[in-house]
């Protein structure tokens, strides 16, 4: 159940700059307490060894950097990936986020009771929802309040500031525990892919356990029924899309083709024109998507869509998923195509839209992301002697697909949250939807298994995800600066990107003219964009 949703999340993955080396490259800041030049050190750190776990083979094998492994049914005899309860009896506080509705609280939630028993420690979760200022607001308030939880999730793309100085002042350096062969003590952490660990590196040190994720990021998820009238969601051009979508607008019955998340919309439209995945590399010279004609064309198209009422009319809509499921909105942006296979989306005809050529001659693409949603660090308020315990707890939570731990973590208690079908596959019960799905979301958000695709009781959906991922992979481009570091991006990247997105929102909603974009790009360049470019170009030349 990886339902990393909507805008808060990889709304910013659009910003890809931040997705990649994102946090890792968040080096020194103007607090005077940190130093610059962390980028150089980070490139040298010894990442944790990779030791593949021995679990059931997938039905469709995964491709490194490409489609995720697919399981058409849950492996028959899940193995045990840990021994004994990893906890020490004392509660463990965590700051994390959820992407579904909140879990039931108290003793009625048997999933949590069982989890705490299995862990041997009570997980004391502070869970933020993706509404309003979401995780960033909560994170900053908690840091300012000084009562830092034992485990804190650091997302790479939600605009956290002064991360290097903060890590240095308030968190344990985990390099000695995780670098190189040290990680082998925690077999499930050693099973996390190497590329994902790069997000945990800041200023040449490993600060936390990476949260690995699928490479396939933002995608339009559609309700197939909504689009039936115009023959489905394959389009021959942007105009074709526009005309068909326009036909489906019905203000009387409140039906609109698109959710009102303009930043994400422009990002996905830009793939139809073939815009850069954050940066485009032409012989060592970088161009940012904000500067590209393709992105501008997508912005212009979004303005046109807005004027034609293709977007749901209230921009403050917090969560489009229920409206798409209910057929009022035709499509919304999920942070991964895999979303169509997750338990909460199996009850409605969900499908993914694959990018197509906007005009004759455009080369549509798909933007791969870095394969990690950040890392989870350990507060230095925690006694040093307790670090191995906490790592062991995270080791439990990272147990891969096909293990007993993973089966419980993802789907809960057998007989209560899920049932076995006659063929031995799983189906989620209503209780499981209300309890296991909602409890697991904030947990997997701070530590989870390596990515895989599995749809409980719906193998067709899992196959469909694989099809889509293959199509996307064929047209996929990576961000050329992935894994590289820029000090300026660290210092100013988040704010600069935010300014551009504010401008984008104003333009799409008609509050500012399209011509204002050029001025915005100019400001972006002079305030740090050009600097980032030259730093990345230098790093690129060296790599």
């Amino acid at each position: 159940m990886s339902t990393l949703n909507r805008r808060g999340f990889l709304g910013v993955a659009a910003a890809g700059t931040l997705s990649a080396a994102g946090l890792a490259s968040l080096t020194a800041c103007g607090s005077g307490a940190a130093t610059s030049g962390g980028a150089a050190k980070s490139a040298k750190v010894k990442l944790p060894d990779f030791v593949a776990a021995k679990t059931a083979a997938p039905d469709i094998a995964g491709v490194s950097g490409g489609p995720d492994p697919v399981y058409l049914r849950y492996p028959a005899n899940p193995v045990k990936a840990t021994s004994g309860a990893p906890g020490d009896g004392k509660p463990i506080s965590v700051l994390t986020e959820t992407w579904v509705q909140p879990a039931p609280s108290g003793s009625s939630n048997q999933y949590m009771t069982e989890l705490n028993k299995r862990l041997g420690s009570k997980l004391d979760l502070t869970v933020t929802q993706d509404v309003g200022d979401g995780y960033l607001g909560k994170f900053n308030s908690i840091i300012a309040g000084g009562q830092i939880p034992d485990l804190v999730w650091f997302p790479p793309n939600q605009g956290l500031q002064k991360v290097p100085a903060l890590l240095q002042a308030k968190f344990h350096d985990l390099t000695p525990y995780l670098s190189g062969s040290a990680v082998r003590k925690y077999p499930n952490l050693a099973n996390l892919p190497t590329y994902a660990w790069k997000t945990s590196v800041v200023d040449g040190r490993i600060w936390g356990v990476t949260v690995a994720q699928s490479h396939f990021g933002q995608t339009y998820i559609v309700n197939s029924d909504f689009w039936k009238k115009v023959g489905g969601t394959t389009f021959s051009s942007a105009d074709d899309f526009f005309n068909k979508a326009k036909e489906l607008v019905d203000q009387r019955t409140k039906k609109y083709p698109l959710e009102p998340a303009y930043i994400n919309a422009v990002h996905l439209f830009s793939e139809w024109w073939g815009a850069p995945n954050s940066w485009a590399d032409k012989g060592g010279k970088l161009t940012h998507m904000f500067e590209s004609d393709e992105y501008f064309a997508a912005l212009e198209f979004a303005v046109k869509c807005f004027k034609a009422n293709l977007f749901w009319p209230d921009a403050t809509l917090a969560n489009a998923n229920p409206k798409v499921a209910g057929g009022q909105i035709g499509a919304y942006v999920e942070s991964m195509p895999k979303a169509i296979s997750t338990a909460d989306n199996l009850s409605w005809p969900a499908d993914a839209m694959v990018p197509f050529a906007a005009e004759s001659g455009s080369k549509p693409n798909f933007h791969l992301n870095y394969g990690s949603i950040g890392f989870t660090a350990i507060s230095n308020g925690v006694d040093k002697a307790r670090i191995p315990t906490l790592l062991k707890v995270m080791d439990y939570l990272a147990a891969p697909m096909g293990t007993e731990e993973n089966l419980f973590l993802t789907y809960g208690i057998e007989g209560r949250d899920y049932k076995r079908t006659s063929s031995g596959d799983l189906t989620i019960t209503a209780k499981g939807q209300a309890e296991a799905v909602t409890s697991f979301s904030p947990i997997q958000n701070f530590t989870q298994a390596p990515p895989y695709v599995y749809a409980p009781g719906a193998p067709a959906r899992a196959k469909r995800v694989n099809e889509v991922q293959k199509q996307l992979h064929a047209m996929a481009i990576e961000n050329p600066v992935n894994g590289l570091y820029s000090d300026t991006n660290t210092n100013k990247g988040a704010t600069l990107t935010q300014n551009m997105y504010d401008l984008l929102n104003d333009i799409v909603a008609g509050r500012k003219p399209l011509s204002a974009w050029k001025g915005g790009v100019k400001t972006w360049r002079s305030q740090g964009g050009d600097q980032m470019r030259s730093e990345y170009e230098k790093a690129l030349a060296k790599s």
Binding site: G30, S31, G32, A33, G132, D133, L136, G137, N140, S141, I143, A144, G145, G146, G159, Q161, K162, A165, L166, A169, K170, Q251, R252, K254, W312, P313, D314, A315, T316, T495, Q498, D502, N505, D506, A509, R511, K512
Partner: protein, 311 residues
């Protein structure tokens, strides 16, 4: 409301006054404690305005930057836009929102049946107890792009556009929300002071042939004038606080240019963007302006022969 204060020289000694007023002083204690804990002690935190503050480094660990934050703040176009928005909203609220409870109080006072009056009072107090989230959601349900009214008009062939997402209407929109939510609650003080206007004044005015309008104009309003002036002064000190939750909830719909006010500016630049120093500077300036406004409004009240909030 005695205009001539007692001569200062003849006041009894402190000890005597203390013994005489101890019950009242004791009753004040919780309130005083509240202000000390939550208003005066936090004032010390304003030193952040002179630092490049990072919460995890603390007051002592963050570097001093002198007036840099203030200088930078002055150079921010979006800060000035927030100031202008704040002043505009304040002016609109002062003109439209401040008199609303007075008018409603007069209206309620004119009702003869106690029962009708009481039940209306109860109803108009209610919205005050709703949180802004609920109020904004209700306005959204009715006036929003997918709202009832919009849908109704569209079904009858009228294109209205989206009132909730029109930046040019935003200031009027939030003022009308404030009026809807708090006018009823605001009548309490005015009703109390209307009740204290001596009834014989009405009787003699009626004897002299004054109709209801003239009685309001010549008896009621002069009778509650000191209260109006006092509340107006207190409102002026608070005038730059034009709403926070209410505005944040609707900011995305109209964009920052139309909706950013000083309070939201402080929140977004401080708590969200982590620029604590500069946003504290912004908050501090707001406080100073508010303080100056109270002082001058009070002076002005004295000029007009009112006692204001203090002498």
């Amino acid at each position: 409301m005695a205009q001539s204060a007692a001569p200062r020289a003849s006041r009894p000694p402190l000890r005597v006054r203390f013994r005489r007023d101890r019950t009242l002083l004791f009753l004040c204690l919780p309130g005083v404690l509240y202000f000390v804990l939550f208003c005066y002690i936090p004032l010390a935190g304003n030193i952040v305005a002179f630092q490049d503050y990072a919460p995890f480094l603390g007051f002592s660990g963050s570097p001093w930057t002198g007036m840099t934050n203030f200088v930078q703040l002055m150079q921010q176009a979006d800060f000035w836009s927030a100031v202008v928005n704040t002043l505009e909203i304040a002016a609109i609220q002062l003109v439209l929102y401040f008199p609303a409870p007075i008018a409603l109080a007069l209206l309620l006072n004119s009702l003869v049946s106690e029962r009708v009056k009481k039940s209306i009072q109860t109803v108009v107090y209610l919205p005050h107890f709703l949180s802004w989230v609920v109020v904004v959601a209700m306005f959204q349900q009715v006036l929003g792009g997918a709202g009832t009214l919009t849908g109704f008009l569209e079904n009858h062939g009228l294109q209205t556009g989206n009132i909730m997402a029109d930046p040019s209407l935003f200031k009027l929109l939030i003022t009308s929300q404030s009026i809807w939510k708090d006018t009823g609650w605001g009548t309490i003080i005015f009703l109390a002071s209307i009740a204290s206007v001596p009834t014989d004044l009405y009787e003699s005015a009626a004897m002299d042939g004054a109709g209801p309008w003239r009685r309001i104009w010549h008896v009621t309003l002069p009778g509650i004038r000191p209260v109006i002036i006092m509340l107006l002064i207190m409102r002026l000190g608070d005038v730059l606080t034009v709403g926070f939750e209410q505005i944040i909830l609707q900011r995305d719909a109209v964009g920052a240019d139309a909706s950013e006010v000083i309070d939201t500016y402080v929140y977004y630049h401080g708590v969200i963007n982590g620029d604590w120093g500069m946003s504290t500077a912004a908050g501090l300036m707001k406080g100073i302006i508010g303080f100056a406004l109270i002082l001058s409004a009070n002076k002005l009240a004295h000029r007009f022969g009112e006692s204001g909030i203090y002498r």
